[in-house]
């Protein structure tokens, strides 16, 4: 299996890259959502799965960057993809500001700290005249990009985020991150600079999450604080990473597929969709506590994107 790693990944990528050619509109939409959720869940995986930064505030970056895109295109007429890039940098600035406060906290306190930041942003934006309070903003670029263009942007995010986490884990600091995941104190004793490593991952996570959210809002064309800063985002990312397998690169790839498939299917049962999602999550956690890919790896040693060194 591992021998055929690059051919398999190559075929997958070519398959995704040619969706606009062979796929129906529905398949294109499905793959677009898949890529966007994949990028964001990989980043949550990088934070929670490797650096034990249990962030419940990813929606802060999603909303902040989304609003940056809306304001820049609407009020300043900035070129749409440039504003997405700037949105990513705004997201990093927010992460830097947040880190001044939340990096003094650990574990569950860190989680609550990040969530509180997102809630504060929600209150701020929903009471801010400049962004039209809770009514929200339309993202109206003078030349709206085509669906195909948006799809390629999201493909870049999905593939890019997965490549980024793979490269980080294979790099010199990657082994340190995996050691931190296993035992923070001992990895510190071995000479890992815990604070720097965590801050680095937090910055990378906020940047890619912000960029992805920018693409998402270019696609959705409407942003509203109660949706953009809602905890629901993080709940979805947690769901994806936990059922896929936390602390593995393959986990979010599988988990995102299951989530997007389910969310499409469950849309028909909107009134009980959350209940069904919850039941599915609990069942998987009970049957496979380390997630689908984590359990598969323990049982069969299967890993296609393993950061292992030999």
């Amino acid at each position: 299996m591992v021998k055929y790693k690059w051919p398999i990944l190559g075929v997958l990528f070519v398959g995704f890259a040619t969706v606009p050619v062979w796929g129906s509109e529905y398949v294109l939409l499905f793959c677009l959502l898949y890529c966007l959720y994949l990028a964001m869940s990989q980043m949550w995986n990088l934070l929670a799965g490797y650096t034990s930064l249990l962030s419940l505030g990813q929606q802060a970056f999603i909303g902040f960057s989304g609003y940056a895109v809306a304001v820049l295109t609407n009020y300043y007429g900035v070129y749409i993809w440039l504003s997405v890039l700037i949105g990513g940098f705004f997201s990093v600035l927010l992460a830097l500001f947040m880190s001044l406060f939340i990096f003094r906290m650990r574990g569950i306190y860190f989680a609550i700290g990040t969530w509180i930041f997102a809630e504060m942003l929600l209150l701020w934006f929903s009471n801010w005249k400049y962004v039209k309070y809770g009514t929200g903003l339309f993202i109206k670029p003078p030349h709206p990009p085509s669906m195909t263009t948006i799809y390629y942007a999201s493909l870049i995010m999905g593939a890019g985020a997965t490549a980024a986490i793979y490269i980080i884990l294979r790099s010199k600091i990657g082994l340190g991150l995996m050691a931190m995941r296993d035992d923070e104190d001992v990895s510190e004793a071995m000479g890992v600079e815990i604070f720097r490593s965590k801050l680095f991952c937090f910055m990378v996570g906020s940047f890619i999450t912000g960029l992805t959210a920018g693409v998402l809002y270019v696609f959705q064309i409407f942003i509203q604080p109660y949706k953009a800063f809602a905890i629901d985002w993080t709940v979805i990312l947690v769901f994806i990473v936990i059922i896929g397998g936390i602390g593995t690169i393959e986990g979010p790839i599988v988990g995102t597929f299951i989530y997007v498939l389910l969310s499409q299917w469950l849309a028909e049962y909107a009134h009980i969709s959350l209940l069904l999602l919850g039941i599915i999550a609990i069942t998987i956690i009970l049957l496979a506590p380390t997630g689908i890919m984590g359990t598969l790896h323990q049982k069969t040693g299967f890993a296609i994107l393993s950061p292992r060194r030999l």
Binding site: L175, E188, A189, M190
Partner: protein, 238 residues
């Protein structure tokens, strides 16, 4: 040569928030010595080692290693100077392979260049690690994990290793073999500071011993000069 000082701890105070764990602690190890620190649970032995390794910052006192002042430095600066810790309870990385665990021992940039030589040496010392180099850390037996923890500490080419309770939870045969290896490591000129509950064994290998009681050093001397009564007093207060 034998008179060179590898480690000198003086007047060390360490606090956990408001609680003072170490009071005016001193310790000295000559180059090439095995120094044993014994004492009851909670006497502060692990705190002492963790402070030397840089995981805790002392509130007062000085730690000198090979002429360099290291108190208050973080571990990533202390490891390259040549001090490593074999933590209590082995604490290997369970989801990393044996090889990756070892590589983690030479994580700091300055220790990276000599990685391959160190690895060769460790595989000679513990052949079982070579056989299992591709296995996950948590699939090893207790004894093998302890060997891995010692091997990991040796990866940075240390001049001084701090061993915290290396016999904890291991079978007597395994303990004997690990102590044999420890002597071998020591013969190559590496200074060892040993913290142990297993008093008899650690006094047997040590050149000098210290006894700790309630965060203070109460006795220092050659192992032969320490009487059973003195040890009993340190442990039980009688």
């Amino acid at each position: 040569m034998p008179d060179e000082i590898a480690l000198k701890v003086s007047n060390l105070d360490v606090h956990y928030k408001d609680f003072q764990a170490l009071w005016n602690v001193f310790l000295e190890a000559q180059k090439g010595e095995i120094v044993s620190v014994i004492g009851a649970n909670g006497a502060g032995k692990s705190t002492l080692l963790n402070t030397i390794a840089g995981l805790l910052a002392p509130t007062q006192g000085a730690i000198e290693c090979l002429g360099e002042k290291i108190d208050g430095l973080p571990p990533y600066k202390i490891v390259p100077i040549g001090i490593t810790l074999v933590p209590e309870g082995r604490r290997i990385f369970p989801r990393l392979t044996v090889y990756e665990n070892l590589i983690m021992g030479s994580y700091t940039p300055r220790t990276r260049s000599s990685r391959n030589e160190a690895l060769k040496k460790i595989y000679q010392l513990f052949p079982v690690l070579k056989d299992r180099h591709n296995q996950m850390g948590d699939t090893l037996s207790g004894g093998e994990q302890q060997m891995l923890a010692i091997g990991r500490a040796l990866m940075s080419n240390p001049k001084l290793i701090l061993c915290d309770e290396i016999s904890l939870g291991l079978a007597p045969v395994v303990i004997k073999s690990i102590y044999g290896r420890l002597r071998q490591i020591n013969q190559e000129g590496i200074t060892i500071v040993l913290v142990e509950q297993d008093i008899k064994r650690s006094l047997k290998v040590a050149n000098r011993a210290y006894i700790m009681l309630e965060g203070k050093m109460v006795l220092e001397g050659e192992p032969s000069s320490i009487s059973e009564e003195q040890v009993r007093k340190a442990y039980f207060g009688i």
